[in-house]
């Protein structure tokens, strides 16, 4: 399959993520959108990695750096999710809402 398809899919996912972050007010949905962006990047990394591997073709290890990166990103994202969700839970307990527009204390 040509690399273009992967790129277009990744751009679409990323854009959806960005737009979601910008427009939605629900913290959980924003969170999911961020995950979407992360995963679009992961997708790109894997796709390019594969492409390089095929193009180089010489040894089995060429072009696997991208795939290694993806694992790292997944681990970090998982950690981030747990922290983020914990924050959202605390937020809900305190103000009984997950609407980010209530959270304007950064101003002070």
């Amino acid at each position: 399959m040509p690399i273009n398809y992967y790129i277009f899919l990744a751009i679409a996912l990323f854009s959806i993520g960005v737009v979601g972050v910008l427009t939605r007010r629900n913290a959980i949905i924003i969170f999911m959108c961020i995950e979407l962006m992360l995963n679009s990047v992961n997708l790109l990394l894997v796709a390019f990695s594969k492409m390089h591997h095929l193009a180089a073709g010489a040894t089995p290890t060429t072009g696997i750096d991208g795939q290694l990166f993806v694992f790292f990103i997944m681990v970090v994202a998982a950690a981030e999710v747990s922290v983020g969700l914990a924050i959202i839970v605390m937020m809900y307990r305190n103000i009984h809402s997950v609407d980010v527009n209530f959270l304007n204390r950064l101003k002070h």
Binding site: V18, L22, L103, N104, L106, K107
Partner: protein
């Protein structure tokens, strides 16, 4: 083996130590200790100077290099002293007369509090130190340090009695006038460095560096240096500070006028004689300025009634003489006159100090008269000084003045005529001063008459020593036409001025002409002296002057003219800058910056809303902008 003259650093070291000791310990030392330290320091350096002088006389000249003072790129300025005929002679004058003045001061300033007494001696020592640095420096930069040092010390000493507003003004005047000259000196220095890359005397005056200078360079440098000299040595147009410098204690006047400071300009030109000899146009200017100053100051002195003012204008006039000598190429005569003038002018200033001391601070000669009865030593020594400055044959002033006039005659008879006229004026006002002060009958109050007394020994001994020097000091320079080969000063200084003699063609005046000139001028001077003596002994000039006399008494209104032409417009300009430029422009810019930031902050306030969404939006937009720039506008 190292040259023994390497030890010359001791000469300025003693006054520096004296300055530090007296300056720091003035609150703890007794007056006698302060006086001993102050005078002793100068005596010690006088002793070393004598030793140095005899070393030089036996043919040992030396440039004592101590360390590198400034080293930038190719420019190396060493801290070095040049000991040769010229500087060793000046060292003797400065430390010798300086010592007598210090000794005199111990008695003259005895009424001051110990603290001020210490301050006085500290300044005095610093003054001598600066002057020694000026004279000994082996390059223009070290000379400039001393040059500035004497300017500073003159400021401190003229304003010594700082409680009087007027004295502070006189001190500031001296300082500012000197600064004007110093600026020219500095520019000359930079010019010299730019063209030749060195400031060391021996290197600058070498053929190699002179070949790097065009005629225009030499003219500009010498002219600027001369402007510097007019400031320090009180020539037109920067002479007005010197008469006002009388605000300081009288021994200070003696120090400024005789041994130090005012001779700096002459020393500097004598030192750079090679450059000047190569710039004949500047030489002519110097001669004319010197002559004009001599004449102007002499006319002013005719009508002054303050004993110190008369002497001050006489100094300005005599300095004009020295510049005339420099301008006509008779460098030896200029240095000779510096020396003899130092003797008799120090003598007369100290004598006037003795008079003022006896009169309880009175300086107006109209209130004196008949003092010869009360102060025998002061009377005789002062008379010797007057005879010497008038140029009576046999005394020191005769020889040096005659040499200057002979040099002037060789250049132009017009110079000679004006010079002789000035000499007659000098004889006139000096004997007006003498007769009004010491002859006739006493005109002061009864109380003052009761108080009149001869001064203590510490004051009279310097007077006697200086009187003897004023008499015999001229015999080192007996002119050629009286006794061949008797001008030992000329032979002594010959190596210093040798390069100039090669450049300047020697004007020769026959011995018969010189005899004629000398006899003629002597008869004229004697006539003037006798006329002034008899006239002012009988009927002192007490009335308020009228007509031209009033103009002279008011110093040709030069101070008023300067005030109207320079001071007032500068004040106006200052007020303009203060009121308009300062408040509107400078403050406007400063406040404008503040206001701009304030306004900008208020406009951008909405950005910091605390809404996370907005922040993210801005972040994304910024990223897009960066992407666009990166992709489409990258070179």
């Amino acid at each position: 083996m190292k040259n023994a003259l390497q030890l010359a650093y001791l000469i300025p070291l003693f006054p520096l130590l004296g300055f530090l000791l007296n300056g720091l310990g003035r609150k703890y030392f007794s007056k006698s200790l302060i006086g001993t330290i102050g005078s002793g320091a100068i005596l010690a350096s006088f002793a070393v100077s004598l030793w140095v002088f005899f070393q030089v006389k036996s043919g040992n000249t030396h440039v004592a290099h101590y360390f590198n003072f400034i080293s930038v790129g190719d420019l190396k300025i060493p801290f070095a002293f040049q000991i040769d005929q010229l500087s060793s002679l000046f060292l003797l004058i400065i430390t010798g007369i300086g010592f007598l003045i210090h000794l005199y001061s111990t008695a003259y300033m005895h009424d001051e509090k110990p603290e001020h007494f210490g301050r006085y001696f500290a300044y005095l020592n610093l003054f001598v130190f600066s002057m020694l640095l000026l004279v000994m420096g082996a390059n223009f930069v070290i000379m400039f340090i001393g040059w500035e040092g004497v300017g500073l010390c003159s400021y401190l000493l003229i304003g010594f009695w700082f409680r009087k507003e007027e004295y502070n003004k006189a001190a500031s005047k001296a300082f500012i006038m000197n600064r004007i000259g110093d600026l020219a000196f500095l520019i000359a220095l930079f010019w010299l460095i730019n063209k030749t890359g060195t400031v060391t005397f021996l290197e600058v005056f070498s053929a190699e560096s002179l070949s790097k200078l065009s005629d225009r360079d030499i003219t500009v440098i010498t002219a600027l240096l001369f402007v510097g000299a007019t400031g320090k040595s009180a020539q037109i147009p920067l002479y007005t500070w010197l008469p006002d410098a009388m605000a300081g204690p009288t021994p200070v006047s003696a120090l400024i006028h005789a041994a130090t400071m005012v001779t700096a300009g002459i020393y500097m030109i004598a030192r750079s004689n090679v450059l000047y000899s190569m710039a004949p146009a500047v030489m002519t200017v110097i001669a004319i300025v010197g002559l004009a100053t001599a004449l102007l100051a002499a006319t002013i002195a005719l009508k002054q009634n303050d004993i110190k003012k008369v002497l001050a204008y006489s100094t300005v006039s005599q300095l004009g003489y020295m510049f005339l000598a420099l301008g006509t190429g008779s460098y030896v005569a200029a240095v000779f006159h510096v020396m003899t003038h130092a003797f008799f002018k120090a003598l007369m200033f100290l004598g006037s100090g003795s008079v003022i001391h006896a009169m309880g601070g009175e300086q107006d000669i109209r209130k004196m008269g008949g003092l010869s009865k009360y102060m025998k030593i002061t009377n005789i020594t002062f008379l010797v000084g007057c005879l010497a400055i008038a140029g009576i044959p046999g005394l020191s002033g005769f020889f040096s003045k005659d040499e200057i006039l002979a040099g002037a005659f060789a250049t132009s008879p017009v110079f000679y005529a004006i010079g002789l006229f000035t000499a007659l004026l000098t004889a006139f006002y000096m004997f007006r001063l003498y007769a009004t002060t010491f002859r006739g009958s006493f005109r002061g109050t009864h109380e003052q008459e009761h108080h009149l007394h001869e001064s203590p020994a510490a004051m009279t001994i310097p007077l006697i020593v200086l009187a003897v020097l004023s008499i015999v000091g001229g015999y080192v320079g007996v002119p050629e036409f009286i006794a061949a080969g008797a001008h030992s000063l000329k032979d002594f200084l010959y190596p210093v001025f040798e390069p100039s003699y090669k450049i300047l063609q020697e004007h020769h005046v026959s011995h018969e002409t010189e005899w004629g000139l000398t006899i003629g001028s002597t008869i004229a001077i004697l006539a003037v002296v006798i006329y002034a003596w008899t006239r002012f002994s009988k009927k002192p000039d007490l009335a308020e002057p009228q007509g031209l006399g009033k103009v002279l008494a008011n110093k040709w209104y030069v101070d008023e003219i300067y005030d109207a032409v320079i001071v007032k417009p500068l004040n106006k300009l200052g007020a303009l800058l203060n009121n308009i430029v300062e408040t509107k422009v400078i403050d406007g810019i400063v406040n404008g910056v503040g206001r701009l930031v304030n306004y900008g902050g208020r406009q951008l306030r909405w950005v910091q809303s605390g809404q996370v969404g907005l922040y993210v939006l801005l972040m994304v937009l910024s990223m897009i902008v960066i992407f666009v720039l990166q992709f489409f506008f990258r070179k």
